[in-house]
Amino acid sequence: MRLQAPENTVGFTFDGQRYRGVPGEPVAAALLAAGVRLVARSFKYHRPRGIMSAGSEEQNALVTVGRGAQAEPNVRATMLEVAEGLEVFSQNAWPSLKHDVMAVNDLASPFLGAGFYYKTFMWPKPFWEKLYEPVIRRAAGLGGLSGQPNKDRYEKAFAFCDLLIIGAGPAGLMAALTAGRAGADVILADEDTAMGGRLLREVEDIDGQPGADWAADAVAELAGMQNVRLMTRTTVTGAYDQGTFGALERVAGPRQARKPLECFWRIVAKHAILCAGALERPIAFPNNDRPGIMMAAAVRAYVNRWGVAPGKTVTVFGNHDDAHRTAHDLVAAGVKVAALIDSRDDVEIKADFPVYTGAQVIGTKGRHALESIAISHGGETREIRTDCLAMSGGWNPSVHLTCHMNRRPTWREEIASFVPTPEAVPGLMPAGACNGAFSTAACLQEGAAVAADLARDLGLKPKVTVPVADDGAYRITPLWAVPGKGRKWVDFQNDVHVKDIKLAAQENFCSVEHMKRYTTQGMAPDQGKSSNVLALAVLADATGRGISETGTTTFRPPFVPVSIASMGAGSQGKGFAPERLTTSHNASVARGAPMIEAGLWYRPSYFPRQGETHWRQSCDREVGHVRNAVGVCDVSTLGKIDIQGPDAAGLLDFVYTNMFSTLKVGRARYGLMLREDGHVMDDGTAARFGEQHFVMTTTTAAAGQVMRHLEFVLQVLRPDLDARIMSVTEQWAQFALAGPYSRTLLNTVLDDPIGGSDWPSMACGDVQVAGVTGRLFRISFSGEHAYELAVPARYGDSLFRLLVAQAESLGGGAYGMEALNVLRIEKGFITHAEIHGRTTAYDIGMERMISRKKDCIGQSAATRPGLVDQDRDQLVGLKAVGAVKQLTAGAFLFEQAAAPVRVNAQGYTTSVAYSPTLDAGLALGFLKRGRARHGEVIRMVDHLREIEAMVEVCDPVFFDPDGGRARG
């Protein structure tokens, strides 16, 4: 019911029914205004539930917003803003909220108590996965996901400040004013749509003006300060190390085109003040969960802020003075108060409505909404007709963020609740209600004092002026659970009631952590915000201990649920990993080459030609180009590291197993790099362009690792070496020209053609390519006469197109990764498929490359007996010799007669190819004592793909073993 007719309303729907609401007010307020009481079914028992709170702590009124791919489940109706055309749906009910068939769970409740699942569904084991779990999940639950890709936009952002103030109630506003006026760089964040906190909801004055007006003035003053950033609709969700906070901003409010739905902030603050306020806690009386039973402060919020009366005839039930406000505010707003029930004996209340002191609510009636309550007063039971009950069991300071770094809060007897433990989160100071200071005056005082201290810490000179406000004492006599029959709900979100907790204690789950897991109290999205203290009190009572001895569970981030989409904003699809493209990318794509990922790089798989329908046809042809004519391949993705300085050669001697100081200028050499533990890290070539200048190449995969490694050597292990390194991978486009006609091809692009003996094998140096200085290397990864030609990256695209066109006129063409792989397997050249981190120089037959004339990384460890044991798996070639020609990588090797089981495995395959050159299925692999077993026929078994083949063990160099083709 609305207290006044609103000026401007918009239409929205709830479960298909049309309603009107004021733009920006919570959907919960609009539904209450329309007299909608039943809004949800409970998690486990499917009990009818209504709106309970007026904030993010809402346990009952979880709804789904929107439909299809954009459906957003588990949105709190108390935080969702009314907007034209908004579609809202209830959850966890079928076929409808009123007639939910799963409500049968409620009738079965005597069997469904705490621990029911653990006890019942133990056996037989397979039944759990296949039967019990799916059934339980369908019956118990929250809103579901659409299963479709989310079309909404999300963002993430970073912010930095001197002072982050969390919460903009009286304490937060006062803190922001104090620090802001002193000139501090302040961020003030609040999860509400407007700042002011409880000042927006209560009837009280500050400095003689209504609290809401004072708050509006404060916000206006703050908005005018250059050094203050105001963030509304922003919930600070977690406190992390070194002053980092997570925060979720509901950017769009009501869904708006072009705006992201949510933004996840990482805010780094030198200091932070927690002004998160307090949350009201329920009282556990029988059937305290009917729609219409609400928190007392929420009733005031709907009446005072939103002009909505949650009922026609309201009763109030509480155990402290604050509850009386509710009755007075209702009367002032013209709503009928049926009764005020105060559990305390020692209070005197004058009012023109019935007041019962020393009384308790002992029962409620009403199937889909509250109709009446029963109270016990002076030994008598009395029934009161009422459609709304405002309850308050007291206030729990919102200590959550102070627990995020594993510290637990401290029990304070006089307020019967927990307060933050000092220094619980370094740099985070609590102030106001979250610190147990409940009066407005105390909040203003603490906010100003803490902010002034921190401003002084920042070297500023703050002035403290605190306005006059209400300073009423908070007098509470704890009331947790009311005696009597019926279920008394403690955790409304998880459907946990008093008896569940008592059962846990009875079954010896007396520790609060055990009770929590046994009953599920305090789990799920709500995290026990409203129920933890009450549950603890019930457990303490059941175990005969005090609350402080019983202990408390802790709170973990996030304070409110954070959608994965917001945390992963920008990381979907192409945003998941940056793309590195070579200069030949466009030309390759234009030729129809399927691009495959190589780390972050994209490389062409093969270049299909007309009439080719299978990748193998293209691959075989490209291998033929290289073996018989000439092929062109972009090899720019290999890491290129420029090394200069008087000790450049000394650095290479230390990081490679072999010698580089003896290398002549104008020559390149293959190098093997070990990790310090004696295993192979990487291999490649290093070319000497000057006495003090080398260019090292690494494999594509290990480029980053090698760079870190070289920096470590230079900065830490060998600071005596005077050398500098720089990654130049992106600066050079480099192409392999391989095949018998490679020199012919090269000479078509060089300004000064080279002769047959000018560039012997492993020569390197500068050349002119159409007037551009490039680098030429006579190196081969295919076993053919080959060159690698590098030019500054900006010329890469045109050089690639030119080389490919010329190669085609010579009967060759471009080749991709598939052909490159076949070519190198035919020659027994290794890649990271072979040097996979567990292989040693000995395993790949290169132990003689470890020079004994110098120290190098990995040298000491490489000589350990275990790493040179002749029983180790050694690199071999494998050739299919049986009926089955297809070999697969990752298959196991067995002796012919041995059963193909793990204990008999003698090795494995690492790379495979069909060789068109040799018309054979080839593999590289590792075999126990493999080098001594050339000629032996063994069995390859791929258990996964169910392929078995007979293979002959041979030298890994299948083709042109004496290397004459590359040298010639």
């Binding site: 970073f158 992390y240 190390d241 070194q242 002053g243 980092t244 990482r266 780094v268 770094m405 370094p426 310090e676 533990d677 980053g704 870190r708 920096e711 470590f712 900065q715 830490v716 292990l717 600071p719 120290d855 040298q859 000491s860 460890a861 350990r864």
Partner: protein, 87 residues
């Protein structure tokens, strides 16, 4: 988590590459023997408290940094250029 790079100042830990225990700074002599090399390569303490480890400012200046931090509280007590740490 925030780490102060001695060159660049305080930065988000996402800018850094984590290596492991700073024991890697003290490389034994080639002939130090199997035990010394085994300790250097493989044996690590697992303290509940202060630890020193190596981070590489990969998305920054490229410095190797020795970070002294507490494994219980996550507090970072000190950061130094690895090149400046006496061994």
């Amino acid at each position: 988590m925030r780490i102060t790079c001695p060159h660049c100042g305080e930065r988000d830990r996402r800018e850094f590459y984590y290596q492991g225990d700073a024991v890697a700074l003290a490389r034994p002599a080639p002939d130090a023997g199997a035990q010394a090399w085994d300790d250097y390569l493989h044996n690590r303490d697992n303290p509940a408290g202060d630890t020193q480890d190596l981070w590489f400012h990969e998305a920054g200046c490229g410095a190797w940094i020795v970070v002294t931090r507490n494994t219980v509280t996550h507090a970072v007590a000190d950061t130094k250029l690895a090149a400046m740490v006496k061994r």
